[in-house]
C-alpha cells in the first residue's frame, strides 16, 4: 500500500516537473524575445467587425473579451442546432436502415456509407460552394415564398417585429412546460397507484403550445412583420441565415447523422429478440411495445456512444474557420494575429472547448444514469 502511494506521488511529481519546465521555459523564451504576454489584451478595443452575431451585439469599438463572447455564442448556436438536427436525422436514418422496405433500407445504408467516408472538411467546402456558387446575387434573388429571399447572401426571412407581448409568451411557454412535467409526474404516480392509464400526449401538447397561444390571443394577436427589403447592396431587415452558417450546420449535421444512425441501429438490434416476443405475447400494440419495452433498453446502449458524437460535433464546429463562419476559433485566430498573443489565445480556445465538452459529458452521464439498469451501472 505504501509503495503504491509512493509510486503515485512520484508520478505526480514528475508530471508537475514537466509542466513547470514547459511553463518556465516558455515564459523565459517570451521574455528573451520581448514578446508581450498576459491576458491584459482582453480589455483592449478589438477594432475588427464580426459578420454575424448570436444575441450579443458587436461593433469594432468593443473589446476583445466581447469578441470572444460573440465567437462563443456563435459556436453554441451552431453546435446546439447541429446536435438537434443530427439526432433527429440520424435516428430516422438508423430506423430506416432497419426498415423492411428494401428501398428505404438501401438508401439509408448508402447515406451512411457516403457521409461517414468523406472527410468533414471536404463536405463543408462542398456545401459552401453549392450555396455560394449556385445561388444568384441579391439583386436577382429567388423568392420561393412571398417575403423570403434566397441568394448567395443567404436566406432572408421575415420575422415578427418585436412586441412586449412576446416576452409574456415566452414566460407562458416556460410555465406550460413546467405544468406538462408536473402533470406527467402526477399521471405516472396515479398509474403506479391505481393502474389508470395516463392521459394521451395531447394534454402535454395542449399545455406547452396552448398557454403561449392563449397569451397571444389575449393580448390582441399583435403581429407585425419585419420584412427583408433589398436596399443598396443587400437585404435589410428581417432575419438572415448566412451561407457560412447554413453550410456549416448542414455539413456538421449530415456528417454526424451518419454516425448517429449507426449507433441507433446498433442499439435497437442489440435488444434481445425475446423482448419483442415477450411484448407481443403480453398483447402490447407495436407502438407501445417500442415505447415501453424496446426503446428504454436500446437507449441504455445508445447514450454513451451518442455522447462522443455530440462532443465530436461540437469540436468539429471549429472547422468553421475554413469557410468563414465567425466561431470561437475564428475570432481567437484573428485576435491572436492582431495582438500576437498566440499562447494566451490558444489557452482560451482549449479551456473553452474543454469546458463545453466536460459540460456535455456531465449532462449525458447524468442522463445515462437515468436510463441505465438500476444497480448495474458502474
Amino acid at each position: 500500500m505504501n509503495r503504491r502511494l509512493a509510486y503515485q506521488a512520484g508520478l505526480l511529481a514528475a508530471a508537475g516537473l514537466v509542466l513547470w519546465f514547459f511553463v518556465s521555459n516558455t515564459a523565459r523564451n517570451l521574455e528573451a524575445l520581448r514578446v508581450a504576454s498576459g491576458f491584459g489584451f482582453l480589455g483592449r478595443e478589438a477594432g475588427f467587425e464580426i459578420g454575424e452575431t448570436t444575441f450579443i451585439a458587436f461593433s469594432a469599438a468593443d473589446t476583445y473579451l466581447r469578441a470572444f463572447g460573440v465567437g462563443l455564442a456563435n459556436t453554441f448556436r451552431v453546435a446546439l442546432l447541429g446536435i438537434v438536427v443530427a439526432t433527429v436525422l440520424g435516428t430516422l436514418i438508423g430506423l430506416g436502415r432497419l426498415s423492411s422496405n428494401w428501398l428505404v433500407a438501401r438508401l439509408a445504408a448508402l447515406y451512411v456509407e457516403v457521409m461517414r467516408n468523406i472527410p468533414l472538411l471536404v463536405q463543408l467546402f462542398f456545401w459552401y460552394a453549392i450555396i455560394a456558387e449556385n445561388l444568384p446575387g441579391p439583386r436577382e434573388a429567388l423568392s420561393p415564398l412571398a417575403g423570403v429571399f434566397l441568394s448567395n447572401r443567404g436566406i432572408a426571412l421575415p420575422v415578427p417585429a418585436p412586441h412586449p407581448a412576446y416576452g409574456w409568451m415566452l414566460a407562458a411557454l416556460l410555465a406550460g412546460v413546467v405544468a406538462a412535467i408536473l402533470v406527467a409526474r402526477w399521471a405516472r404516480a396515479r398509474q403506479a397507484a391505481t393502474g389508470a392509464p395516463p392521459p394521451g400526449a395531447w394534454l402535454g401538447f395542449a399545455l406547452v403550445l396552448g398557454t403561449p397561444l392563449a397569451v397571444f390571443l389575449a393580448s390582441g394577436a399583435p403581429l407585425a412583420w419585419d420584412r427583408p427589403e433589398l436596399a443598396g447592396f443587400n437585404f435589410q431587415g428581417g432575419a438572415t441565415l448566412t451561407p457560412e452558417f447554413a453550410a456549416l450546420l448542414t455539413g456538421l449535421a449530415t456528417y454526424t447523422a451518419a454516425f448517429v444512425a449507426e449507433i441507433v441501429r446498433a442499439g435497437v438490434l442489440a435488444v434481445d429478440k425475446g423482448q419483442f416476443e415477450a411484448a407481443d405475447s403480453l398483447g402490447l400494440p407495436r407502438r407501445r411495445a417500442m415505447q415501453l419495452v424496446i426503446l428504454p433498453q436500446a437507449l441504455r446502449l445508445i447514450v454513451p456512444p451518442m455522447t462522443s458524437q455530440y462532443l465530436n460535433l461540437t469540436k468539429n464546429s471549429s472547422l468553421a474557420v475554413a469557410i468563414g463562419y465567425p466561431d470561437l476559433v475564428s475570432i481567437a485566430n484573428t485576435t491572436m494575429n492582431q495582438t500576437g498573443q498566440a499562447i494566451e489565445g490558444i489557452a482560451i480556445i482549449m479551456l473553452v472547448y474543454l469546458t463545453i465538452s466536460l459540460s456535455i459529458s456531465a449532462f449525458m452521464n447524468w442522463y445515462n444514469r437515468r436510463v441505465a439498469l438500476r444497480g448495474a451501472s458502474r
Binding site: F22, N25, T26, R28, N29, L30, A32, L33, R34, V35, A36, G47, F48, E49, I50, G51, E52, A60, A61, F125, A129, A132, E133, G137, N152, R153, A231, G232, F233, N234, Q236, P243, E244, V321, A322, I323, G324, P326, S330, N333, T334, M336, N337, Q338, T339, G340, A342, I343, I346
Partner: protein
C-alpha cells in the same frame, strides 16, 4: 502542414530551450544547416508563388535568395515555408523560419510587442478595394451596407473597420483564412467587395479572376502598408545581414549594376563600384560574410529593378512610389561604405 504550422509553432515556442533560440547566433545556425529557411506567402503571384515546375518565384522570394547568395555565395540555398497570415509571426518567433519575407506590413505593434524587427521596406503598398464592374460603384464612399471579403489576422481587417467607422458606413465582413478560398468567395459573388493591399488586388485580379476586365480597383487607398522582410529580436548580426541584402539590391539599381553587367563592373575603376563588388574595402567582413557578398547577390538574383521587372511588371504593376528616390519614388538605400 500549413494548418498545423501555427500550432506546432506555439508548441515549439513552449518546448524550445532558451539555448535553441538564443545562445547560437542565427548566422551560425544557418551556416550549419546549409540553407536559409524563409517564410513566404502561400501563393501571391509576383511576390511568392511556385511556378509550374514548383520553383518559388517573386519579389519576396528574391529577397530570400539574396540572403542565401550573401551567406552561401549560392542563391539556391533557400528552403521555403509557405505561411498564412496567421501563422507567420509564430513561425518566426519560434525559430521555424530564419527570415519572414511575406508581404508583411511594418507597424509599431509588430515591431515591438511581437518580438520582431523589420529590416526595411521592399514594397510600398496601401489597402484598396476591388469590386465587380457591373456593380457600378465608383468610389469606396458608396460601399455602405456592402459585404466585404477579407483575410483574417491582418492589418487589412482593422483598416477596413476603421475606414467604415470613420465614414459612418456599415458592412458585413466574410472572413476566410486561405487566399484561394477568400478569392473564390469574392469571384463567386458571395461578397460585393474584396479588400487587401493594392498589390494583392492587382496580383489576384491578374492571376485568379475568370475575366480580369470585369473587376475594377477603386481609387481610394485607405492605408499605408510598407511591406518588408522581418527577423527576430535579439540577433543584431543577422538583422544586419538581411537588412543590407535588401539595401544591396536597391543600391545596385541606383548604381546601374545588373546581373548582366556586374561581371564587367567588377574590373571598374569607380571606387564605389569597387567597394560594392568587394574588390576593395572589407564591408563583407564587417557583416561576417564573404567580401563578394553584394556581387553574388546581384550576379545571381539581380538588382531590385530587375526583380520588379521580372515578377511584377507582367501582372500590370507600375513602379510608382516603388521607384528609386532619384526617379521620384521612395526607394532609398543608405550608402554602402
Amino acid at each position: 502542414m500549413n494548418r498545423y504550422s501555427l500550432w506546432t509553432g506555439v508548441a515549439a515556442l513552449a518546448i524550445l530551450g532558451t539555448g535553441a533560440v538564443h545562445a547560437q547566433s542565427t548566422l551560425d545556425a544557418v551556416q550549419k544547416k546549409g540553407h536559409v529557411q524563409c517564410g513566404v506567402n502561400t501563393g501571391l503571384a509576383g511576390f511568392s508563388q511556385p511556378d509550374s515546375k514548383g520553383v518559388w518565384k517573386g519579389l519576396d522570394v528574391d529577397l530570400c535568395r539574396a540572403v542565401a547568395a550573401a551567406v552561401f555565395s549560392d542563391a539556391s540555398k533557400v528552403r521555403y515555408t509557405p505561411l498564412t497570415a496567421q501563422q507567420r509571426f509564430t513561425a518566426l518567433q519560434s525559430g521555424e523560419v530564419d527570415v519572414l519575407a511575406r508581404n508583411t506590413t511594418w507597424t509599431v505593434t509588430r515591431d515591438t510587442s511581437l518580438g520582431l524587427n523589420f529590416v526595411g521596406v521592399n514594397f510600398y503598398d496601401g489597402q484598396g478595394f476591388m469590386v465587380p464592374r457591373k456593380l457600378n460603384v465608383k468610389s469606396a464612399k458608396q460601399l455602405n451596407g456592402a459585404t466585404v471579403c477579407v483575410q483574417p489576422g491582418t492589418t487589412t481587417e482593422l483598416n477596413l473597420a476603421d475606414y467604415f467607422r470613420a465614414n459612418r458606413m456599415s458592412f458585413k465582413p466574410v472572413v476566410i483564412e486561405k487566399l484561394e478560398e477568400v478569392t473564390n468567395a469574392y469571384f463567386s459573388g458571395r461578397c460585393d467587395v474584396f479588400t487587401t493591399d493594392v498589390s494583392g488586388l492587382v496580383s489576384t485580379r491578374g492571376s485568379r479572376a475568370p475575366n480580369p476586365a470585369e473587376h475594377i480597383i477603386l481609387p481610394e487607398v485607405i492605408s499605408k502598408e510598407p511591406l518588408g522582410p522581418v527577423v527576430r529580436h535579439g540577433d543584431d548580426k543577422w538583422f544586419d545581414i538581411v537588412k543590407w541584402s535588401l539595401f544591396a539590391m536597391l543600391e545596385a539599381e541606383e548604381m546601374n549594376l545588373t546581373s548582366k553587367n556586374i561581371d564587367q563592373a567588377a574590373s571598374s575603376k569607380d571606387p564605389a563600384v569597387q567597394r560594392f563588388v568587394g574588390a576593395s574595402g572589407d564591408v563583407g567582413k564587417m557583416l561576417g560574410l564573404d567580401n563578394r557578398w553584394a556581387f553574388n547577390i546581384i550576379k545571381q538574383v539581380g538588382n531590385y529593378g530587375e526583380s520588379f521587372e521580372t515578377h511584377l511588371k507582367p501582372l500590370g504593376f507600375d513602379r510608382g512610389i516603388n521607384n528609386l528616390w532619384t526617379k521620384g519614388g521612395l526607394m532609398y538605400a543608405p550608402p554602402i561604405r
